[in-house]
Subunit: 173 residues, 2 copies
Amino acid sequence: MATNTVQTGSATSTGVFTSEFLLKHWQGHRALTRRVIEAFPEKELFSFSVGGMRPFAELAMEMIDMGGPGIVGAATDVWKKVEELDHYDKKAIPTTKQALLDRWDEITGIIESYWPQISDERLREVALAFGMYENPVYKTLFYFIDNEIHHRGQGYVYLRALGIEPPPFWDRP
Amino acid sequence: MATNTVQTGSATSTGVFTSEFLLKHWQGHRALTRRVIEAFPEKELFSFSVGGMRPFAELAMEMIDMGGPGIVGAATDVWKKVEELDHYDKKAIPTTKQALLDRWDEITGIIESYWPQISDERLREVALAFGMYENPVYKTLFYFIDNEIHHRGQGYVYLRALGIEPPPFWDRP
C-alpha cells in the first residue's frame, strides 16, 4: 500500500532540488565541520577519542579523502581506488591543527572549482565511485555529506567529553 | 570568483533530486536509526550517555517529535509550536525499548501516508516550520534528516563506549 502511494508521488515529481542546493548544502556542512576541528585543543584533536574510536583528526581526514578525490571523480569519472585513498595511510594525516585546516580549505576550493563541470545529467548518471560503489553521482555526493554529518556528530561527543561546548549544529547557511 | 562559478552552474540546473528520492533518503536513514535503537540494551537506552549528553532514547524522541509533527506541517502547513513538541516534556518519552520502537514505526507510517499530499511546488514553498523556522519545505525536511544523522552518530559513540558494535552506517537503501 505504501509502495503504491510512493509511486503516485514520484510519477509527478520533476525534480525539486537543484545542483546549486546540493553544493551549498555540502559546503554549509563543511563550514560547520571546520569549526568543529577548530574547537578541539591541538593535542586532543589527534589523540582523544571515546570507546576506542578514531580521534577527530582521522575522521576529518576520511572526509577530506572522500571529498577531494570524490569531487574529481564526480566531475571527470576518474576515481582513485579505495586502497589509494590517503586515509589508508595514516602517515598522510597532517600533524598540526593548522595543517589539517589548510588541507580542509584546499578541498573547499577543489569542490568549488570542479562543481561547474558537473551537469544535471552527470549528477543523475550511474558511476562506479572509487572503483567500488555503483550509484547515481548525486547519491554518492549525499553519501559524502551524510558520512561527514555522522562523524562530526561523533566529534561533538568527544568535545562534550572534554568539557568543550561545540558550535551549534543549526548554524549553517 | 567562486560565486560567479556557482551562479553559472545554477542557471542551468532544472532540478535533479526528486520528491521520491527525498522520501527514500529519509526513510532509509530512519530504518538505520531504528536498528541503532534496537542495538542498545534496554537499560542503557534510557540511561547511558557520554559527556553529560542526553541518553539515546531522548535523542530518538527528538527525531520522533520533529518527524511526526514536521511531516504534518510540511503537508498541511499546520505546525505545532516548538514549545508544544513532546520532547520538551520528558514524561512523554516511552519507558521501554519496545514502546519506543512502536512509536518510531508509527511515525514511519505517518510519513508514508502524508508524503503523497506534498507536491513539488509545496516542497519549494517557504513555510514557518514549528512557528519559528522560515525555510523552503524541502530544506526543513533536510534539517530533520541531518539532525537525525547527527544524533545517531552520537549513538554510535555510546554503543562503542558500551562495547557494542553498531550497525554499519552504509547499510541503507
